[in-house]
């Protein structure tokens, strides 16, 4: 293709607060319609907004996590437009002075295979501002219904520079951003629940050109894969328009995921004259610099930084760290376990294999993967399991069985081993008898062994393991068999 795509994203993120941004009404996803409103949320005559300071802190934290500078003063503007889901027909937002300016997000492009690290790059942000969420419209065949539960929920709107150049980069960006926000505990970013919503601005230019082409804005991209498809669709569409010698019309387009196509929202293309002005009901907030410093210090490690540290400090391979760090819960679990028993590789393996396997096995169909916190699994349990394996109390084989049991019941590995009698039998008297029996019943293997074929001893081990149901310590068994064969000579 002779064109290069230039993409900018606007991402709305619902901040995880207990109450709404300008009233104390609570918010929770999935509650029945209009059960989470009050006089302020409904914009009843005479009501006034009062700020939820927690929303400002959460947004500042987000800004710091993304390397933004934090404004000295947090101010509020009214954005005036009529829409049935907007209770006051103006949205309280930040136009003139956003709370967070600049910033950037580190992204990783897909590598040539899953096991190979891809290229990293920093994507520049323009700003992050705070605003209130409107209500939610549902359309029937003949009318529309409004639920104001969501109205007034604090949103952070993250605006990137036009600094993304392909749908893959947009996807990498959204994944990285999502992970950063989840790491910082600012939002759960569940796109299905509307906790993260994305609009994409796309324009094309001839490769090598610096000028920006006419852009269009895609709306209703409610999953990362929608974002990808919509951008790809739009790149193709614009290329076709340009190839035919026509010019792209600046417009808003709505993505229809079922038709895998977007269509123009010309009806909404009337004058965007929002008549912004400072909200007279809310007073400016001076951002306490000391408090901002504290927030900065409290920030968690960024996921890519954590991944690099794991590779360096624990010599863990990329394949493991990329799985571990793609999920804060997993990597936190890793670190807690590591704090109890120092065996990074073994712990990382249990988490990325056994734990992930159990989590997905026990997730309900259609649900996103189960969280560790929803299970009985604890770092103490995994640390103990790794410890008993390393000390030779049970084999790795038995450990898998113990893991499953522990995951389901939250019982300690030692008590499971005890209850089920799973410990490797170190009773040399009993094993010696079994070994002698094996030697006596397989003279062929004995003579092969004596002839220098060391592997022949495995034929003797088998029946002993079988008789002990695998509890015999394999290393000890090996040593004992050799001793008895030599002795028999």
């Amino acid at each position: 293709m002779k064109y290069e795509a230039v993409i900018g994203l606007e991402i709305h993120v619902q901040l995880k607060t207990k109450s709404k941004m300008f009233s104390s009404a609570p918010y929770e996803y999935g509650k029945s319609p209009n059960t989470l409103t009050d006089a302020v949320v409904l914009g009843l005559p005479g009501t006034l907004p009062v700020l939820n300071y927690e929303a400002i802190e959460k947004c500042a934290q987000l800004g710091l996590m993304l390397g933004c500078s934090i404004a000295k003063v947090c101010k509020w503007d009214r954005k005036n437009y009529f829409y049935p889901d907007s209770p006051k027909n103006y949205q309280l937002t930040q136009n003139e002075e956003p709370l967070c300016l600049g910033g950037s997000v580190e992204i990783e492009m897909p590598g040539s295979s899953r096991n190979i690290e891809g290229e990293h790059r920093w994507v520049q942000l323009n700003r992050i501002h705070l605003e209130e969420d409107p209500g939610k419209l549902t359309h029937t065949a003949f009318d529309s219904l409004i639920d104001f539960n969501r109205a007034g929920v604090p949103l952070a709107e993250i605006v990137t520079e036009p600094d993304l150049f392909s749908s893959e980069e947009a996807v990498a960006f959204l994944n990285a951003l999502r992970n950063l926000i989840i790491y910082a505990g600012i939002s759960d970013c569940d796109m299905e629940k509307g906790q993260m919503r994305c609009d994409a601005n796309v324009s094309l230019r001839l490769k090598g050109s610096d000028a920006l082409g006419t852009r269009t804005e895609m709306k209703n991209l409610n999953s990362i894969s929608n974002v990808k498809s919509a951008i790809e669709y739009e790149i193709k569409r614009q290329a076709k328009v340009l190839d035919s010698g026509e010019s792209v019309v600046q417009e808003t387009r709505r993505w229809d995921a079922t038709k895998n196509a977007s269509y123009s929202l010309r009806s909404k293309e009337e004058a965007h004259d929002y008549r912004y002005f400072p909200d007279p009901d809310l007073l400016p907030v001076e951002m306490d610099r000391d408090r901002v410093e504290v927030l900065k210090e409290e920030l968690p490690e960024r996921p890519f930084d954590r991944q690099r540290r794991y590779q360096k400090e624990f010599s863990l391979p990329y394949t493991i760290t990329s799985v571990l760090c793609a999920n804060r819960e997993l990597s936190d679990f890793f670190e807690s376990t590591l704090g109890l028993f120092d065996a990074p590789k073994a712990i990382a393996n249990y988490i990325t294999n056994d734990l992930l396997r159990e989590l997905s096995a026990h997730s309900k169909e259609g649900d996103s993967a189960l969280n560790i916190t929803d299970t009985k699994m604890k770092p103490e349990l995994l640390a103990e399991l790794v410890e008993v394996v390393e000390s030779g109390l049970i084999s790795k084989q038995i450990a898998k069985e113990v893991f499953t049991e522990m995951f389901l019941n939250g019982k300690s590995p030692k008590s499971i081993i005890e209850e089920k009698g799973l410990s490797q039998s170190n009773d040399s008297g009993e094993i010696e008898a079994l070994c002698l029996e094996a030697i006596a019943s397989n003279p062929k293997a004995v003579s092969q062994f004596l002839d220098g074929n060391t592997k022949a001893i495995n034929a003797l081990k088998g029946p002993v393991m079988k008789a002990t149901k695998g509890k015999a310590n394999p290393a000890m068994l090996d040593e004992l068999l050799q001793k008895l064969i030599q002795k028999g000579q």
């Binding site: 607060t17 207990k18 109450s19 009233s23 104390s24 009404a25 609570p26 029945s32 319609p33 209009n34 059960t35 989470l36 409103t37 009050d38 006089a39 409904l42 009843l44 009062v50 700020l51 939820n52 300071y53 927690e54 929303a55 400002i56 003063v73 009529f82 049935p84 419209l137 549902t138 359309h139 029937t140 065949a141 003949f142 009318d143 529309s144 219904l145 409004i146 639920d147 104001f148 209703n220 709505r254 929202l265 009806s267 909404k268 009337e270 004058a271 004259d273 008549r275 400072p278 007279p280 809310l282 007073l283 400016p284 907030v285 001076e286």
Partner: protein, 97 residues
């Protein structure tokens, strides 16, 4: 402000979502242009270096104490107030997106 400015009554009425009759538009245009003419005396004032005053108070940092959930309305409040409602939701003509 621009001299000889006359108000684009249709554009403004559209923005304000106000249906006006032709007669209303006519009278209002004249009255508003009159009033805007009176506003022109503001042009004579030197406002360089003057901070705009958005609030009557020179007060900052007012917010609600604590992020705690407060009381909510029963959906019946919405139903009672709304001109039309169904399934505890406000009904409006189909919104075309």
């Amino acid at each position: 402000m621009p001299k000889d400015q006359s108000i684009d009554i249709n554009y403004v009425a559209d923005l304000a979502r106000l249906k006006l009759s032709d007669e209303e538009k006519e009278t209002m245009s004249n009255q508003l242009n009159d009033i805007l003419g009176h506003f022109e005396q503001l042009n004579a004032v030197d406002v360089s270096g003057i901070e705009p005053m958005a609030h009557a108070l020179k007060v900052h940092n007012v917010w609600r104490e604590g992020d705690e959930a407060g009381p909510v309305f029963s959906p019946s409040v919405v139903n009672q107030l709304a001109p039309e409602s169904r399934d505890n939701q406000v009904v409006v003509p189909k919104v075309v997106e």
